[in-house]
């Protein structure tokens, strides 16, 4: 079997290695980075290492990614302003999550980050009124299907995505960080109570540093389908490196995970950050999470090792497809009990099949996002 060349991981760890890259190496790096949404992030890293001089054709791809990322960050700032304006009459806190939080506060992961949507959280009692405010300000529910609406509203931790009717930007409005039906039950009220105000924006908050890390870990390992797995791990790595210098950081992180019932996601986060991105996680912190390792740790290792690679053919082996599929099933299994899950997956599969018939419009019609 040929040796796995994961140049994205290699360059995330040691950007200066690209200084010795051949054309073939650059070619592979750019293809892998594009498929993991990390091209602009790598571009930013290379900017910090002047010894790295990409060939002209590679620079074109890096420049393009840089421009998209720069533009997205401007758009995210603008959208935050619009959301704040829409919600102001409620006089309730709006909490920015993930990418939007990094951009609003200039936190480490924001350099070269790509966005697909904006995540916000509001207290559950306010959710309905908050949605009304958003609808008044021009956002519309992106899922019209009655089943989808019910699925989100009954079981999920967020509303169906809201898409702005003119700008097309998508906002995911959460009221907690995991589905109501999930087994882990972090208490959203405590997250909101600890949230930190964003300077210069009234009623706008981000999660407290420890919660931000725990949410990022939870989202990556217990919620999503890992389509942006490595990108999310890069976020986590940047957050951990940034906050690790705070006094008593590691024990406090541990204690907060315990309070919030999120030790398992923290275990995964520390393990894979250290193993893949060489995040300086102290032994003591790893040891403290080890009681929370899963029962089938070796199997989970086999799955995550694969799913956290760039989604590119060069990083796939015979088990990659199976690993991604098992994690997909797992993500749903974690979300809801089996008697809810099975009918849901069947419905989704049928719907996908129906949607694959092309309709009118541009000769090349985009696939549905879900």
């Amino acid at each position: 079997m040929p040796e796995l060349r994961n140049w994205v991981l290699e360059c995330l760890r040691q950007p200066q290695r690209a200084a010795d890259f051949s054309d073939a190496d650059w070619d592979l790096l750019i293809r892998q980075a594009r498929h993991s949404n990390l091209l602009a992030r790598l571009d930013w890293l290379f900017q910090q290492h002047p010894a790295v001089q990409p060939p002209i054709w590679a620079e074109r791809h890096l420049e393009a990614a840089r421009r998209v990322s720069d533009r997205q960050q401007i758009a995210v700032r603008y959208e935050i302003g619009q959301i704040v304006r829409a919600m102001r009459p409620l006089q309730q806190p709006v909490i920015l999550l993930k990418g939007a939080a990094y951009v609003a506060t200039g936190l480490a992961p924001y350099h070269g980050r790509m966005f697909s949507d904006i995540d916000i959280m509001v207290p559950k009692p306010v959710l309905e009124r908050a949605e009304q405010r958003m609808l008044l300000a021009g956002w519309m529910s992106a899922h019209h299907d009655a089943y989808d609406q019910k699925y989100y509203r009954t079981w999920m931790h967020e509303l169906p995505p809201l898409r702005h009717r003119r700008r097309g930007t998508v906002v995911d409005m959460h009221h907690t960080i995991l589905p109501e039906t999930a087994r882990l039950k972090p208490d959203a009220a405590r997250l909101i109570a600890a949230a930190v105000p964003v300077e210069g924006l009234e009623q706008v908050f981000v999660l407290a540093p420890l919660d931000m890390i725990l949410h990022s870990a939870t989202h990556l390992f217990h919620d999503g389908e890992l389509e942006n797995g490595l990108r999310d791990l890069v976020d986590l790595d940047a957050l951990l490196r940034h906050f690790a210098t705070d006094d008593g950081f590691w024990p406090r992180l541990q204690a907060r995970a315990e309070e919030m019932d999120l030790q398992r996601p923290l275990y995964y986060a520390l393990r894979y950050c250290r193993e893949l991105l060489q995040t300086p996680v102290p032994e003591s912190a790893l040891a403290a999470t080890s009681p929370h390792q899963p029962r089938f740790a070796a199997l989970m290792d086999m799955l995550f090792q694969r799913a956290l690679r760039p989604d590119h053919v060069s990083c796939n082996d015979a088990f990659t497809g199976l690993a991604r599929w098992l994690l997909y099933v797992r993500s749903h299994h974690l979300r809801m009990p089996l008697h809810l899950l099975l009918p849901h997956l069947v419905r989704k599969a049928i719907k996908r099949r129906r949607e694959s018939t092309p309709l009118g419009g541009h000769p090349l019609e985009k696939k549905a996002a879900d």
Binding site: R31, H35, W57, E63, R67, V68, S356, E365, K367
Partner: protein, 303 residues
């Protein structure tokens, strides 16, 4: 070495296995396909494009039939960019048009080092005419007419404008003719190579006219934008060139650029500088010969 070095069979073998790697304008394309219609189309339309023995390609394209029942029943074709399929499949008979659309999409949605405007582009003596216009306005027909009478083809779909020096970059590829204009061009340019008609596409019937040899050979010579002309075919109309407001022109181009919103300030500055340096016109016509005459007499915007 260019693609025509290979026989149709050899080309098919390469495309089925390693893929064929060729240059078009500033980009290297790596194309794989076992579909005979794609091999045939490449052989006919891309024979003069240089084969590239490089360790990189800008776009890795693969056209193939989807697995499952649709492989046999009402067969389809789908396109993968480096292993990912961004679009729904099309009927198998449209495999070659799909390659052309897909490659345009690849350039327009990735190459943000250029301002990319939806327009046909032709050149003469280093001066470039940009022909933006909505579909159905006769833009491709006019473009095909001009390049069969001495103008050099840059592109019939994508105006690439460098953000660094504002030069227009050629991306010579087959010209996509639609519906009536196919027969018009078969008659008007009998020397041109025009491929088979693909019927019932979502743009109606489509055929491709091969890019002229000199356009392909001089694909690395950029030009300076001199004219922005909005063509409009009107049956029976007298050919007429009327000056057009530059501000309006800039607004229209911004709306019809693929990546104006991505580029922000750089896009605005490039666009306004280009429009500033051009003469802008509306152009109504019904006869290609009149159009050729009027374009030959276009005045330069600069001394």
């Amino acid at each position: 070495m260019n693609i025509a070095t290979y026989s149709r069979e050899r080309l098919g073998q390469y495309m089925a296995t390693d893929g064929v790697r060729f240059r078009t304008g500033p980009f290297v394309v790596d194309l794989r396909s076992t579909l005979p219609a794609v091999v045939e189309g490449i052989h006919q339309m891309y024979g003069e494009y240089p084969l590239i023995e490089s360790d990189h390609a800008d776009f890795y394209l693969h056209l193939k039939q989807p697995a499952g029942i649709r492989h046999w029943w009402r067969p389809q074709v789908c396109f993968a960019l480096d292993g990912h399929e961004p679009f729904k499949p099309l009927p198998l008979s449209q495999a070659f048009p799909m390659f052309e659309w897909a490659l345009n999409w690849c350039v327009a949605s990735h190459m943000h080092c250029y301002l990319i405007i939806h327009a046909a582009v032709v050149e003469r003596d280093g001066c470039v005419a940009v022909l933006p216009a909505p579909p159905g306005s006769g833009k491709s027909t006019l473009c095909a007419g001009l390049i069969s009478r001495g103008w050099r083809l840059f592109s019939d779909e994508l105006a690439l404008i460098s953000l660094k020096d504002r030069r227009v970059i050629p991306l010579p590829r087959p010209v996509g003719l639609k519906n009536n204009s196919i027969d018009i061009m078969r008659a008007y340019a009998p020397q041109a190579v025009i491929g088979p008609n693909y019927t019932d596409t979502r743009k109606g019937t489509v055929a491709h006219m091969k890019a002229p040899t000199t356009s392909i050979r001089r694909a690395d010579e950029s030009g300076r934008a001199a004219w922005i002309v909005f063509p409009k075919y009107t049956a029976g109309a007298e050919a007429r060139l009327t000056p057009r407001d530059p501000g309006q022109t800039a607004l229209y181009l911004a709306q019809n650029a693929f990546n104006y919103s991505v580029l922000g300030r750089a896009g605005f500055e490039t666009l306004t500088a280009v429009v500033d340096g051009c003469r802008c016109y509306d152009f109504e016509y019904s006869q290609l010969d009149d159009a050729i005459e009027i374009f030959a007499a276009l005045e330069l915007p600069y001394a």
